[in-house]
Structure formats: structure tokens, C-alpha cells
Amino acid sequence: MDSTAPLELNRLLLAPHVTDREAAWDELIARHTRLLMAVARSLGGDHDDAMERYSYILEKLRENDFRRLRSYDANVGATFPTWLTVTSRHLCLDLHRSRFGRLRVESGTDRSDSLRAVRRALLDLTEGDTPPDTIVDASSLPTDGLALRGDLDDCLKQALVRLTSTDRLLLTLRFEDDLPASRIAGILGMPTPFHVYRRLNSVLAELRKALQSRGIEGSDG
């Protein structure tokens, strides 16, 4: 166990005796009860559902001599609370799947819709008077009338490949998953939603420039 791991975790995993281990376990859970309860409640249902998930998390964290807790490695770059959030949420999803099957991943659009949304955003950007927070509403896309067709998708895909991974993820989160800018900012580590809007506009402008350089005009073709 790494020395930068939380003290309560070190005490648990290094406890020489069962009684010490139980005391350390109580301490660890006491310290993170709020986090674990928040995770247990986050998947909906009533109080009993949440408490069942909470119990399941505790059971699985204790399983096989705390195997999951031993897998935490502070050297990789995650704080313990963040890792615990991800892991306990993962466990809740496992429990749900074991009972009801796989959760449907909520995604606003599929990949082809995503491309269409990017096309639309490029078009809006050309017109220049669209507020940045409304340029990416995939649900409002018309099914026809878009200028860019045919080879455009191929060119667009090629242009997307040349973007940075962060910019590709930015577009995916916005156009494919329909996430609001505030949540994208949290995921990508941007300070505010406005940084997301600004970066989106910049990326879209970059894409448009790339398409224009290949002789494709977006707004009237």
C-alpha cells in the first residue's frame, strides 16, 4: 500500500489482528458513509433500494480480504474518494445488472446523428448569429435541407481524426451524448461552461476551415 493512501485505508489493510481490522473498517466506513450513501441513492428507487445497494457495496468491499480496496493505488493518480465513488457506483451497476439486466446507456444520439449535429453546428457557425449554447441542439436538426451531403461525412471524419483527443471527446459529449456544457466542463476539467462553449466554437471553426480547404462549403451545397 502506498504511503500516500489515506490513513484509514492503510490502517485497515495493514492491521495485524482481526480486532484491529474491524476497528479500522468501522473507521473507514464512518469516514465515507456520506459518499457511499450518495452513490447508493444515485441509481434511484426508494430508501430500501438505496440501503440494499449500500449493504451490497460494503459486502463487496470486504470480499476476499478487501481485494477491491487493496487494488487502489494512489500512485496512479486518483484520490481515494474519487476511486471509491467510481468503484462503489460500478458495484451498484453490477447489482442492478444482476437483477434487471444491463442498464441502457443514456445517449442522446447515435454516431450518425452526431455527425449530422456537427454539420448543423458548422452551418450555424457560418451564419454567425447563433448563441454558442444553442448551436448543438441535436434534437432540433431538420431531417433534410442540410447542405452538406455525400462526401462531406468522409471529409468530416478525416478532419475529426486530426483533432486532439480532448476536442474529439468534447464533440462526442456534446453532440452524441447531448450533455450540457456544465457537465462537460466537469468531465474535461474546464473551469466553466463558457470555456466549453468557447472551445466548441473554436473546434467547429477549425473543422469548417479544414473542410473549406478541401473545397467543401457547408452552408449552401
Binding site: 490513513l7 484509514e8 476497528a23 458513509t33 467510481v86 462526442t172 459529449l173 457537465r183 468531465i187
Partner: protein, 184 residues
């Protein structure tokens, strides 16, 4: 992606190369994206009250620096004017001053009852977070066992979390305990 990678990504703990690799994967994998987005949303929710708690903790330290606990006050059993009421929120639990009991020189900790509380979790620890003693029960007070010996010259902190029947929690926030003031 495993849990550690997702957590490291959210904590900005990955190298630039690893971060790029993870983001490339996220672009292609909607399930991992959902895991990242779901965890991030949870962390955002958890962070909001934490800011208040951090502020309250700071207030407690500042208040403790100004507030010298006298033996008389220790027995007065008045609510501490430290964390909870200064925080200006009804979602916290009111802590009362610890009482040093004459008969066995132990300490009784008390707090206000929270409506719909299923249980209370009491934790006494050193300022660096090492738990000295913890207890879970349904009463609104607890006596420190005689087996737990506190250093007279040391400082300690304690808190109580009420776990409510709807799964939410209320907390007293960190309370300061100056053992040297506990005379009989």
C-alpha cells in the same frame, strides 16, 4: 477502462499520454463515457456540501482559537457556538459541549436529536484524522469508555453523523476538544 483509470482521469492525475489514450477510448466507448459522466456528476454533488463543511471546519478552528473552554462551561451543557449554528444551515446537527464526569473522569458527548434519525455515528479522532474511538448507536449521547485514554495535553476533534431513515445524513461537523480543560 478500469475504475482506477476512470478515477485518475476525473482527478486529472494521468500523464498527458495516458490522458490522451483514455480520451481516445472514451470517444469510442459509450459505456465508459457513461461511467465517467455518472461518477463526475456524483462527485459534483458531493463537493457542494463539502465546501460548506470545509468552511464550517475552518470556522470551528477559528472559533476554537478564540474560545477557551473553562471547566464551568464544560459542565454548562450549552450548545457549542462553533460550527453548526455559524454555518447557518438547518441540515446540520447541533453538538453540545462534552461533559467531564466526576465519578470516573470520563467524558460524555451529547448532541441534539435529528428527526427521523435511524442511528448516530460518533467518531473521536486526533486532528490528523486518526480515529481514537468510534461508536454507532441510537442514543443522542455517548460516554467515552474508560479503556480509552486521552492525553491531557493533546487536542482532539469529534463529530457525529446522523443517518436518517431516508438515507441522508446530518453532521455536527468537526468539534474541538481540549482535554486539558477537563477538570472536575
Amino acid at each position: 477502462m478500469n475504475d482506477l483509470e476512470i478515477a485518475s482521469y476525473l482527478d486529472r492525475g494521468l500523464s498527458a499520454q495516458d490522458r490522451s489514450r483514455v480520451e481516445d477510448h472514451l470517444v469510442e466507448c459509450s459505456e465508459c463515457r457513461e461511467n465517467v459522466a455518472g461518477a463526475e456528476q456524483l462527485m459534483t454533488k458531493l463537493r457542494r456540501p463539502r465546501r460548506l463543511a470545509a468552511f464550517a471546519g475552518l470556522a470551528a478552528v477559528a472559533a476554537a482559537a478564540l474560545f477557551v473552554v473553562s471547566p464551568a462551561l464544560m459542565r454548562a451543557r450549552q450548545p457549542l457556538d462553533l460550527v453548526t449554528r455559524d454555518a447557518g444551515t438547518s441540515s446540520t446537527l447541533v453538538a453540545y459541549e462534552p461533559i467531564a464526569t466526576a465519578e470516573n473522569q470520563s467524558i460524555r458527548f451529547s448532541w441534539a436529536a435529528a428527526p427521523d434519525a435511524g442511528s448516530y455515528r460518533f467518531v473521536l479522532s486526533t486532528p490528523d484524522g486518526t480515529t481514537v474511538w468510534s461508536f454507532t448507536g441510537t442514543d443522542t449521547s455517548v460516554m467515552l469508555p474508560a479503556s480509552v485514554t486521552l492525553d491531557r495535553d493533546a487536542r482532539y476533534v469529534w463529530f457525529v453523523d446522523a443517518i436518517l431513515n431516508d438515507g441522508t445524513t446530518k453532521s455536527t461537523g468537526l468539534q474541538q476538544l481540549r482535554v486539558s480543560s477537563l477538570t472536575h
